[in-house]
């Protein structure tokens, strides 16, 4: 839906996924779909975007994929600020392998598939993303379709590396962080008689995570980090942090290679019609020349 709203034709979009239930996503969307390896979505996506920056590149994956085995790439991708979008489905479990604890499952929780309570603390994806250099960090919720669509749209439109953590109940294996739990159905507000949802929207609470001047970057990051600590009884969704003042990876490459954007690797012609190379290595050979 987000892609349609943004009027992006399928052939201009490439969706990369990792391994897991969410890995199947590209097969359900009419865009180029590259279903990669566990934890390795970001490298494939970066490679494509690097070679052809004109394409709209979206990486999707689970929390196990992105914050466990893939966390090395997660962190280093933030450093680059490549202009692309990463959507992580956070459900606290490794669903496709039958429900093991994932990197975001909190200490002591025992979902129905676990023989013992979780002995690891959960990693904080928002905080990790801030430390790594992501310039758009948001959280949304699978069951709030409108909010999710808008978050994805904003993420795609953002100039730089965007991350959207999507809280995603797994009905099969995570019987703790369920739809009912997010919806607060276990805590009825005596005043209204209605469930009091755990999720709340940052924007509605007057929070503004957008950096408009370079001087604000530090304080906005600290505010985002503070907000990122909220979990359990109050879970913020919305844009935690956005900074479009940071140079993108493409811009940095252009500093070294002025023709990078106008003539990216994927578009370069490398030979003539007869298959003769057109790259001239005469200058390099001249530098290596010793006689003649």
């Amino acid at each position: 839906m987000a892609l349609v709203d943004l009027q992006l034709p399928g052939s201009k979009v490439v969706i990369f996924s990792g391994i897991g239930c969410s890995g199947k996503l590209p097969h359900f969307v009419n865009a180029y779909g590259i279903h990669t390896l566990h934890g390795r979505t970001l490298p494939f996506a970066i490679g494509t975007k690097l070679a052809n920056p004109e394409l709209e590149v979206i990486a999707v994956g689970g929390d196990g994929d992105g914050l466990g085995i893939g966390v090395g790439h997660f962190v280093n991708t933030g450093r680059r600020n490549v202009d692309m979008t990463y959507l992580i489905h956070d459900n606290g479990v490794y669903g496709l392998t039958k429900g093991q604890a994932s990197p975001t499952l909190r200490l002591g929780l025992r979902t129905k598939s676990l023989p013992r309570p979780n002995i690891n603390e959960g990693v904080n994806p928002i905080a990790l993303a801030l430390a790594a250099g992501y310039t758009f960090i948001a959280r949304s919720y699978a069951y709030d379709v409108r909010h999710l669509k808008e978050a994805i749209k904003r993420a795609i439109q953002h100039r730089g590396m965007s991350l959207v953590i999507i809280q995603q109940p797994c009905p099969t294996y995570n019987n703790i962080n369920t739809k009912e739990w997010y919806g607060g159905e276990d805590r009825i507000d005596p005043a209204t008689g209605k469930p009091s949802p755990r999720l709340y929207k940052l924007e509605e609470a007057g929070y503004d995570g957008i950096v408009r001047k370079p001087e604000e970057a530090s304080s906005k990051a600290i505010a985002a980090l503070t907000k990122a600590q909220e979990w359990g009884e109050k879970i913020p969704i919305g844009i935690f942090y956005q900074n479009e003042l940071v140079s993108t990876y493409q811009e940095r490459i252009s500093q070294q290679i002025p023709t990078y954007i106008e003539n990216p690797p994927a578009k370069q012609v490398i030979c003539d019609a007869k298959g003769n190379p057109i790259t001239s290595i005469a200058k390099m050979l001249e530098e290596l020349k010793v006689t003649g």
Binding site: F16, Y260, A266, M284, V290, G292
Partner: protein, 638 residues
């Protein structure tokens, strides 16, 4: 040969020496050895200078030029009778076992040698006196005195700032000793120190001082070096430079890498040359460039390269053994999704961290079998630096023609050694992109990325092409690229991929996959791959002059192996000799699997040093004289 502690300018000295010889029209073949260390441990270069082209290491050292005491002791036994050793006068009094950098095994070996020779030298000077008895001449140069003179002349108070130039003093003395025209050395100094006029003038002064000193004091050295003027256009380059240039000529536009010895040098060279000209007449575009990307690890490196290759870009990554181990899963994804990605795999001492800075040739089996499941790949092995250039380019043609990963194996011995060559001809490089489609080809049609075809190769559309879409997945898939678990689809897809290797086997001419030297009816046939080529050619030439005819089958593409041809050649061979730089004779094993033919003799080496033509000659001679054991292990090198 020149040696010194790492960090003392052994590298620049090596370059200056080699280039100075090249400028004078001499041919040079240079080898570098260094520890996995940044400063302090021993390193050396061994340069072979000749009026003819030379392509192999030899054991002898006609002139040993030592920057420090350790270099004297380490290489003392390699100095040939009639040869010379240049050293600092100050090392003469140094006690051998007081030198702090000896590893335990060295002390053991050295002590054993002293016992065998029944000598008990205490100081370096004592040791030098021993080899004098073998007609080795000792030339002690007062490096520090010369440095003090220089300091005075240029007004530098701190002598410590000048000790860096001991390497040039040593060089100057060497050239003075062999009476080589100084102007070529000056040219080399200017070239190596490029943009730094103050450094250049200081080094010129050092050169003169030492050169003049040697000319005045040492007149009796038997070896003289004379330039051989030539009009021929020649270049002097290393294996990594050859690979990089081959890639550029072939149109590689994305290279990823994670820093690892010795592969990182290739990527750094590419990055220095990331902007280049293109022949404007062919096409209108604003200059060419390659994007070189340092990644966070090798897993990212191979997968980013695949991601780039999916867009129709020629993409590659360069690494060594430990890095390739990490790339294995990515290799399988590329094989499964028929992605044309090229991996330049620099072999070094293995397993594990192994010998990061030393030669090795033991990863052929690994390159052949890496990754779970069965899928085609193509493997190239370069035998010398020139082959590195053309193989690096050809790798992309194979990758795109057969839409599969190509592994280009390059031995460390080739990566870091340098050699003079007649100018390469980039015009010989051809670019074949295989069945690459454009948007127009698939307009209004439903595109099947993995369409079943007779050759196994499906026409390939770059992702991002407007007007069409397709999918890739690591899972088994149908022709569109969607996950498919049906038995029939699975059967056909595996076959489709594997048939591509048969197609490659049919299409790639034998002469692209092997080199055959000598007479098919000779008394013995050597089978080898990679860098032993130079040593084998030189050794067999020597034997030929002694009346022993031997032929040499050099395998350049071990996969797909041209097995009918090899079976035919080896079927005629009276003695079949495997020469390889590994313990288990890996190529011989592959040939046995594919043809049933078993080698008669094995000449193997795995001590982390390249083969010298001398030890190969010795081993082969024993074989033709019927005195050889079935397996000989070569051990030369320091």
């Amino acid at each position: 040969m020149a040696g010194g502690a790492q960090g003392s300018g052994v590298d620049s000295a090596a370059n200056i020496f080699a280039r100075a010889c090249c400028y004078g029209g001499l041919h040079v073949y240079g080898k570098r050895e260094y520890h996995s260390n940044i400063k302090g441990l021993h390193s050396y270069f061994h340069v072979r200078v000749s009026s003819k082209e030379v392509g192999a290491d030899v054991d002898r050292v006609d002139l040993l030029c030592a920057f420090d005491a350790e270099s004297v002791v380490r290489h003392i036994w390699e100095a040939t009778p009639g040869g010379g050793i240049i050293c600092d006068t100050e090392v003469l009094g140094v006690k051998i076992f007081d030198i702090p950098t000896w590893p335990g095994p060295f002390v053991e070996e050295f002590t054993k040698t002293l016992d065998e020779k029944s000598i008990r030298p205490e100081t370096v000077g004592d040791l030098l006196n021993e080899v004098k008895k073998n007609n080795v001449r000792i030339y002690a140069v007062p490096y520090m005195t010369l440095l003090r003179e220089i300091a005075e002349e240029i007004g530098e108070e701190k002598l410590s700032k000048l000790t860096r130039m001991i390497n040039v003093l040593a060089l100057g003395a060497s050239f003075g000793l062999v009476d080589y025209d100084k102007k070529y050395v000056e040219k080399a100094i200017r070239m190596i120190f490029g943009e730094k006029p103050k450094i250049i003038s200081m080094n010129m002064l050092a050169l003169s001082k030492a050169y003049d000193y040697a000319q005045r004091k040492f007149g009796d050295f038997g070896f003289k070096l004379k330039p051989v003027p030539t009009d021929e256009e020649r270049i002097f380059l290393t294996g990594v430079e050859a690979v990089a240039l081959g890639k550029l000529a072939a149109g590689c536009r994305v290279q990823t890498y994670y820093p690892i010895t010795p592969a990182a040098d290739e990527s750094e060279y590419l990055e220095e040359n990331e902007l280049f000209e293109i022949e404007q007449s062919a096409v209108k575009q604003a200059g060419g460039h390659i994007v070189v990307m340092q990644t966070e690890d090798e897993i990212a490196a191979v997968n980013i390269a695949s991601g780039a290759a999916l867009t129709g870009t020629r993409a590659s990554t360069s690494t060594s053994g430990p890095g390739f181990s990490l790339m294995v899963e990515g290799l399988g994804w590329a094989g499964n999704n028929e992605v044309p990605v090229v991996v330049s795999y620099y072999q070094r001492g293995a397993p594990s961290t192994g010998l990061p800075t030393r030669h090795g040739q033991s990863d052929l089996r690994f390159a052949l079998h890496a990754s779970h499941g069965e899928f085609p790949r193509i493997i190239l092995c370069s035998g010398d630096i020139e082959e590195c250039f053309y193989d690096a380019a050809q790798a992309f043609n194979y990758a795109e023609r057969y839409q599969t990963p190509v592994v280009h194996l390059i031995d460390k011995a080739l990566a870091n050694s340098n050699k003079s060559y007649r100018m390469f001809n980039p015009g010989l490089v051809k670019i074949e992109r295989g069945q690459l489609l454009t948007g127009a080809d698939v307009k209004d049609k439903e595109y099947k990325r993995f369409e079943f075809t007779e050759s196994g190769v499906s026409p390939r559309l770059p992702i991002g092409t407007p007007g069409a879409i397709f999918w890739n997945t690591g899972d088994e898939h149908d022709e569109f690229g969607h996950i498919a678990e049906e038995p029939m689809t699975r059967t056909r897809m595996v076959e489709k991929r594997m048939i591509k290797l048969e197609t490659a086997n049919k299409e790639i001419p034998v002469q692209e996959r092997v080199n055959f030297f000598g007479d098919a009816d000779s008394s013995a046939t050597i089978v080898s791959w990679g860098s032993p080529k130079g040593a084998v050619l030189e050794a067999t030439e020597r034997l030929r002059q002694e009346g022993y005819e031997m032929s040499f089958l050099q395998v350049r593409v071990p996969h797909p192996l041209p097995k009918e041809y090899i079976a035919e050649v080896l079927g005629k061979a009276k003695k079949k000799i495997a020469v390889e730089g590994n313990y288990s004779a890996q190529l011989a094993g592959i040939i046995r699997e594919e043809t049933g033919i078993v080698m008669d003799y094995f000449v193997l080496k795995w001590n982390g040093r390249p083969m010298s033509s001398d030890e190969v000659y010795d081993a082969l001679k024993l074989i033709v004289q019927e005195k050889a054991p079935k397996r000989q292990v070569l051990t030369h090198g320091t």
